[in-house]
C-alpha cells in the first residue's frame, strides 16, 4: 500500500479541523484512521478526492464532535476523580496538626506525690508564713518527709530546671501541651534535665526545702495558659 504524501495528510487534517475537531490526541488518532481508510481506497483504485469522501462518510455529520465530547467527558471524569482524591488527601494532611494538637491536650490528672497527701497550704489568699503578709498563693504545699519521690502529674516535656537558694528553690517546670504547665518547687533532688520527655507518674525529683521554706515540702502549681489554677481541681485527693 502506498503511503499518503505529506500534502495529502495535511489536506485531510484541514478537513478534520474544518469539522470543528480540536488539535490534540484525539484528532491525531482520527487523522490516522481516516488516512488508513483513504490509503485503502486508493489501493482499490479510487482517486484521492473520492477516497477522502468515502473516509469522511464513515463519520456522519455530528459524529466527530460527539466522539470528541464523549472522550472529553471520560477523561474529565477521570480527572475529576483524581482531583477529588488529591483534595481529600491534601485536606487530611492539613488536618493532621489539628489532630496532633487535640491529641496533645493533656492536662495534669494525678497528685505529684505518691501516698497520703498533707496539704499544709492551699491555693489562694493566705498569710505568707515567712513574710507575714497576705499574699496570693499560686499553688499548693504538700508536707512530706525529706526525700519523698515527686512524680510528673501528666505526660510532657521538662521545660525548665532551676536551682536557686531562695524563692522556689530547686524547681522543675513541665510543659504538658499548648495550655498546661506544672511546676514543682522546693525540691531536694532534681532527676530530670531540660528537654527530657516525661510520663505521667514518672519520678522527677524528691521533696526538700531548698528555697524560701520552713521545712521539707513540695510547692506544686498548675498553670493553664499562663494563669495559676487551683491544683486541687487537677487531681483526686
Amino acid at each position: 500500500m502506498n503511503w499518503l504524501s505529506d500534502t495529502q495528510v495535511a489536506f485531510i487534517e484541514a478537513r478534520l479541523a474544518e469539522r470543528g475537531l480540536r488539535d490534540g490526541e484525539l484528532r491525531n488518532e482520527l487523522l490516522d484512521h481516516l488516512c488508513c481508510v483513504v490509503e485503502e481506497q486508493l489501493a482499490v483504485g479510487y482517486p484521492f478526492a473520492q477516497a477522502v469522501e468515502i473516509a469522511f462518510a464513515l463519520f456522519p455529520p455530528g459524529t466527530l464532535k460527539r466522539i470528541e465530547s464523549e472522550t472529553d467527558s471520560i477523561t474529565l471524569q477521570k480527572k475529576t476523580i483524581m482531583k477529588a482524591t488529591t483534595l481529600f488527601v491534601f485536606s487530611l494532611l492539613l488536618s493532621i496538626p489539628t489532630y496532633l494538637w487535640v491529641w496533645q491536650i493533656d492536662p495534669p490528672t494525678i497528685a505529684p506525690l505518691a501516698g497520703p497527701l498533707h496539704i499544709t497550704s492551699g491555693f489562694g489568699e493566705r498569710m505568707h508564713p515567712l513574710r507575714k503578709v497576705k499574699l496570693h498563693h499560686r499553688g499548693v504545699d504538700f508536707r512530706a518527709p525529706y526525700g519523698t519521690p515527686v512524680v510528673a502529674t501528666g505526660d510532657g516535656v521538662v521545660a525548665k530546671v532551676e536551682r536557686q537558694p531562695t524563692g522556689y528553690g530547686n524547681r522543675i517546670i513541665i510543659r504538658h501541651d499548648e495550655q498546661f504547665q506544672t511546676s514543682y518547687g522546693q525540691l531536694a533532688e532534681i532527676q530530670v534535665v531540660e528537654g527530657q520527655s516525661v510520663k505521667r507518674g514518672e519520678v522527677i525529683g524528691t521533696v526538700g526545702s531548698s528555697g524560701d521554706s520552713t521545712g521539707p515540702h513540695l510547692h506544686y502549681e498548675v498553670m493553664k495558659d499562663g494563669q495559676a489554677q487551683n491544683p486541687e481541681a487537677y487531681f483526686q485527693p
Binding site: E29, D32, H33, L58, F59, T63, I67, T75
Partner: protein, 117 residues
Amino acid sequence: MFSNQLLKGHLQTIVLQLLTDRGRMYGYEISQAVKSMTAEKIILTEGALYPTLHKLRAQGLVRTEVLVVGKRRRKYYELTPAGREASVSRVREFFEFVQTMQLLLGGRGKSTDHELA
C-alpha cells in the same frame, strides 16, 4: 448486520478479546479485524469504537503508546494486567449469558426435541 442496540453492551468485550489475541493494535486495525472476522455482520463504527477505547483506557484496562509511522502519529492500544483479567472474566460472563438466553429463548425447544428423541 446486527443492530447497535444489540452490540452496545459487548463492545468492550470484543475489543478486550481482540487485544488478548493479537496484542498491540491501533483503532483502524481493530475496526478492520472485526469487519473481516464477522464477514461484515458486525461493523464496529468509528463513532462507537473510539469512545469505547478511551473508556477502557480510563478504566485502566488498556494502555496506549503513540508511534510515529511515516509522518503520522499512530496510537496503539495494549492490554494492562487488569485488562487481561477483565478480558477473561467478561468473555466467560458473555458465554454464561448466551447459555442463559438459550434457556429462555431457544434451549427449551431443543431440550424438548431431545427428550422426545
